[in-house]
Every structure is written in structure tokens, then in C-alpha cells.
């Protein structure tokens, strides 16, 4: 990659973060431009957190929670999914684009899936370009 990008990943402790950890243990390579934020539960992610991430310079944001039906906190991942959908609508209306934010579900042993998630977000940013909030300086 020629240009550094910034991708923020909100990962729940039990599955999202655990799968990222396992990816590291297995020496799976993925972009170093991801900043992982570890949370007890993906349900803790608020619309405000995602919007703030974009204001602080994120090109894309993803939320990695437990598989549906298997949330360590029962339905925190369902809550997160709804908030991500709502945030997509807000970002579309603002003009940043709803495709820059996404919700994923992983299990703690799905290291390959975590790598896939990061690769997916990286390729999205490469395709649609950096966040429109970033000013191009000569």
C-alpha cells in the first residue's frame, strides 16, 4: 500500500479480540493500519463512538462481535448490529458513505475470518478512497 489508511476495529473481548489474538499466534498477516479497540461486548459500541472515530480520522470502522445466538452477553451483538445499521444511514446522509462501517460476527477460533474482515475493509478503502474528511495537502 502506498498510502497509510486508518481502520478502527471495535472488538469484543470474547470473540472478536480472541480471534484477532489467534490470528497473531498463527502468524497470519494483515494490514498494520488497523487499530483494534477491545471492549467487553460489542453491544457497548455506541453510534457516537463510530461517528467520533470518523471525525478523528478513520477511513473505515468495523465492529467484530460474537456469532449471532452465541453472544457471551446473550444479545449484545444484536444491539451492536442495529446501531451499526443506524450509523450506516447517518453516514450516508452526511455524505461519508455507509459502506465505510460494517458489523461482523466471528467465533474466538475463527482467526482466518478475522483476517478476512480486515482484508475486506482494506479493500473497501482502497476502492472508494480515503475518508472525505481527510484534506488533500499539496
Amino acid at each position: 500500500m502506498s498510502v497509510r489508511m486508518r481502520i478502527v476495529g471495535f472488538c469484543c473481548n470474547y470473540c472478536g479480540y480472541a480471534s484477532a489474538d489467534l490470528a497473531g499466534l498463527n502468524h497470519m498477516e494483515y494490514s498494520p493500519d488497523v487499530m483494534i479497540i477491545r471492549l467487553p461486548c460489542s453491544g457497548r459500541v455506541d453510534v457516537l463512538h463510530i461517528l467520533r472515530a470518523f471525525r478523528e480520522g478513520a477511513d473505515a470502522v468495523f465492529v467484530a462481535g460474537c456469532l449471532e445466538g452465541n453472544c457471551n452477553y446473550e444479545y449484545g451483538n444484536i444491539e451492536a448490529k442495529k446501531r451499526v445499521e443506524y450509523t450506516k444511514r447517518i453516514l450516508s446522509e452526511i455524505g461519508i458513505g455507509g459502506e465505510r462501517v460494517e458489523m461482523f460476527n466471528v467465533a474466538s477460533n475463527m482467526a482466518w475470518k478475522f483476517k478476512e474482515i480486515v482484508d475486506e475493509m482494506v479493500s473497501r478503502v482502497e476502492k472508494i478512497g480515503p475518508s472525505p474528511l481527510k484534506k488533500v495537502t499539496a
Binding site: V47, L48, L51, R52, F54, R55, I90, E93, I94, G95, I96, P132, L133
Partner: protein
């Protein structure tokens, strides 16, 4: 409670064009309960506006505050320090709150952030339904507690129209039950079916909005000049 919903973000942004120092003012009462203008929604709207401003070099300065009730002057006056210096207030209260806000701060433009809809109650989380039309002459004692003015699509007073079928309203069978079907079952359950044989005369709409903006006076509650002085200017 008053039921309202947020205006589309594009519309809010359009209404705020030309301003720079914006205060997003929420209300902790009815609109917080219908998830339209409480603290959380204020935070999200404010952050969305900041994002939009950053993207388009609008240089908006967006502050936020949530008032206990925007429909009462005392609560609105309490945020005077925060309001000073702003050139627009985005009111996330109902239409009443937005007007009181404008009344108290006449030199700052107040922009509504919500579309106020009706007087109703939550049916379940995320769904609200109108229950009262504020007609000013209540007949709930004759209809088993179900308002025919607000809950009948045609506001009929003496039984259902010919179009209602299977207990559903013909105007919108999927979402609206027939009010008179519900009234019948309610009166039957209460053992008061004879009330349905009582003919309700044509409604006097003067107590409703047809008489113009309404005013209610409770003489014994009005403060005398001495009482006002003793209460230190409280209105």
C-alpha cells in the same frame, strides 16, 4: 405524552445553513421517551453535524445541552449561559418546546429538529400510537376508555362505518384496528353495552382547534402581585 420523530438529517442541515454557532438543545421529557430528542439523540445529532461541518468546511461550532423540560420557562431560562453567543438553536423538543425556547431567547433563531406528531403512548419498544386528539370534550366514559375521535380514522361517534371488517379499519387494515370494534368489546367486557345505544349528538368542535388557539385559566392558581414579588419573579 407527546409523540414526535426526528426530522431527516438533510432537512436539519438545510435549515441550519448560514449559521455558525449552533446549540443542539434536547428535552428530557416526552421526546426522550419516544427516542427522538433525549440526551442520546442530541449527542448523535451534534456529532453528525460536526462531521458534516468538517467535511464541507462549514466551521460550525456545535454545542449540546438537554433541558429537563423545554415547555417550561423556568427550565429554559436555566441554560442562559450556554445559549449566549450562539446564533442558532436546534431544538430537539416538540413544537411546544421549540416555541418556548424562541420566546425566551428572541434574538437567536430556533430551528426545529423534530416533527411533532400526536398525543399517544408506547405500544411496545419502538412503536408509539396516537390515543388522544385533545378535542376538549372527553367522552371516554361512554366508549369504554377508547377514544373514537383519535382512534377512529373517521372520528365517528355512533358506531363503525360500513367499511370496517374483521375488527380492522378500512383505511389501513394492517396497522389500525377498528376503534368501534374495540369499543364494543370493551363495553361488553365492562358490562355496559347499553351505552352503545345512547346516541351521541354531533360534536361541538369549539373546544377543539376549530375555536382557535385554546387557553385555560385556573383563577385560584394565578399569582397576585404580592405573591409574584414574594416568589422572586417566578412566573
Amino acid at each position: 405524552m407527546i409523540i414526535a420523530e426526528q426530522k431527516p438529517l438533510k432537512e436539519i442541515i438545510k435549515n441550519l445553513e448560514g449559521h455558525r454557532k449552533i446549540l443542539v438543545a434536547g428535552c428530557r421529557s416526552c421526546v426522550a421517551i419516544c427516542l427522538a430528542g433525549g440526551e442520546k439523540e442530541v449527542g448523535i445529532i451534534a456529532e453528525s453535524l460536526r462531521l458534516y461541518s468538517d467535511m464541507h468546511d462549514h466551521l460550525w461550532e456545535v454545542d449540546e445541552i438537554t433541558v429537563e423540560r423545554q415547555c417550561e420557562k423556568e427550565w429554559v431560562k436555566e441554560i442562559k449561559k450556554i445559549v449566549e453567543g450562539k446564533d442558532a438553536i436546534l431544538s430537539m423538543a416538540c413544537g411546544v418546546g421549540a416555541q418556548v425556547m424562541q420566546e425566551i431567547y428572541p434574538d437567536i433563531r430556533v430551528v426545529p429538529g423534530l416533527n411533532t406528531s400526536n398525543m399517544g403512548a408506547p405500544e411496545e419498544q419502538g412503536i408509539w400510537r396516537e390515543k388522544c386528539a385533545g378535542c376538549g370534550d372527553c367522552v371516554l366514559h361512554l366508549t369504554g376508555g377508547i377514544c373514537p375521535i383519535a382512534r377512529c380514522s373517521k372520528s365517528l361517534l355512533n358506531g363503525p362505518c360500513g367499511g370496517s371488517q374483521n375488527g380492522r379499519c378500512e383505511v389501513n387494515p394492517e396497522t389500525t384496528p377498528c376503534a368501534w370494534d374495540q369499543i364494543y368489546h370493551s363495553l361488553k367486557r365492562l358490562g355496559k353495552l347499553e351505552l352503545m345505544e345512547q346516541i351521541i349528538p354531533p360534536k361541538n368542535w369549539i373546544t377543539s382547534h376549530s375555536g382557535g388557539p385554546r387557553r385555560i385559566v385556573k383563577q385560584e392558581a394565578i399569582l397576585t402581585a404580592e405573591e409574584k414579588a414574594a416568589k422572586g419573579g417566578l412566573e
